[in-house]
């Protein structure tokens, strides 16, 4: 079992790497043969997927694809605050 990470820090990390993915994705749409951008996309996409799984495991899922990663005995997609609610971010 890995040690429980800091929730706020992990969430912030997910926001950062996800933003990199969002931004590089748009750049790649108009520059599909840019090797440096492709490498960059792969790196951040991997970091994002790992972090989403890690977050789901300890704090509940942010995506439906990681809902199975959490160790809850009930459906916890609806448990945590929604993003626009206080404490949700």
């Amino acid at each position: 079992m890995s040690e429980c990470p800091n929730r706020k820090e992990l969430f912030h990390h997910i926001n950062e790497v996800s933003f990199a993915v969002d931004d590089i994705k748009l750049y790649l749409d108009t520059h599909p043969c840019d090797d440096e951008a492709l490498e960059c996309f792969e790196e951040y996409s991997q970091l994002r997927n790992e972090a989403l799984k890690e977050y789901a495991k300890h704090f509940g899922p942010l995506t439906v694809d990681t809902a199975v990663c959490s160790e809850a005995d009930k459906w916890n997609w609806i448990q945590d605050p929604w993003p626009w609610q206080e404490g949700g971010c």
């Binding site: 933003f19 748009l26 749409d29 108009t30 942010l62 439906v64 993003p83 626009w84 206080e86 971010c89």
Partner: protein
């Protein structure tokens, strides 16, 4: 197909109620240069776009605009969620409240309801991309106008993020226009409309 992700693209945490500012910022939800119109514009235009790069950009920016709509709604919600009847009357938010209580509803700052006439889907890639580039600049100006009305860092911070994205999207649409023009007759870009005059048979 879309999947929901349970987080905002940029975090919003506002502690102080401010109904006057909420009435202005709601324009970026349902106003003429708001995020709802932006998303519907790009997601409507993409079906007849013949170039893969540009179809990708319309899909991905149209999707990001939905996330921006959620950020704007989160700002408006957090600026109004603790309103008291006294604050409602004093701020002029009572006119919105009487019809919607504290729920979100897409309207301009003036109170005009959201309408599909805020955007065009013309079916000509040069025309639509010029519309999109103008739309990004109009939204950027709206965010600049909002930033002149407040110094509250909790509000300015996400608004600055949204403003910055308008500039990035403008850049990507400019590149899309170049890609479209590279496919056309360099002596006369208007000789044909590739969304109508040259239609490929998909064979299915």
């Amino acid at each position: 197909m879309w999947l929901y992700e349970k987080r905002l693209q940029y975090p919003v945490k506002i502690s102080e109620t401010n109904p006057k500012l909420a009435q202005v910022i709601i324009s970026q939800f349902g106003g003429p240069d708001g995020e709802l119109a932006a998303s519907m514009r790009y997601l409507s235009q993409r079906y007849t776009m013949p170039y893969n790069e540009v179809t990708g950009i319309l899909t991905d920016i149209g999707t990001e605009e939905l996330a921006h709509m959620e950020i704007v709604c989160a700002i408006v919600h957090q600026l109004t969620r603790d309103l008291t009847p006294e604050q409602l009357k004093a701020s002029g938010f009572d006119k919105y409240y009487v019809d919607h209580t504290l729920a979100l509803w897409p309207q301009a700052a003036s109170g005009a309801p959201w309408t599909a006439t805020y955007f065009q889907s013309k079916g000509d890639p040069i025309t639509d991309l010029h519309e999109n580039m103008a739309a990004e600049q109009k939204a950027r100006t709206t965010y600049d106008n909002i930033l002149r009305l407040t110094n509250d860092p909790e509000i300015c911070d996400p608004i600055r993020f949204l403003r910055q994205r308008e500039i990035v999207h403008y850049q990507r649409f400019g590149e899309s226009l170049r890609i479209v023009q590279e496919h056309l007759d360099s002596k006369n870009f208007y000789a044909i409309n590739p969304e109508f005059d040259v239609r490929q048979d998909c064979g299915c």
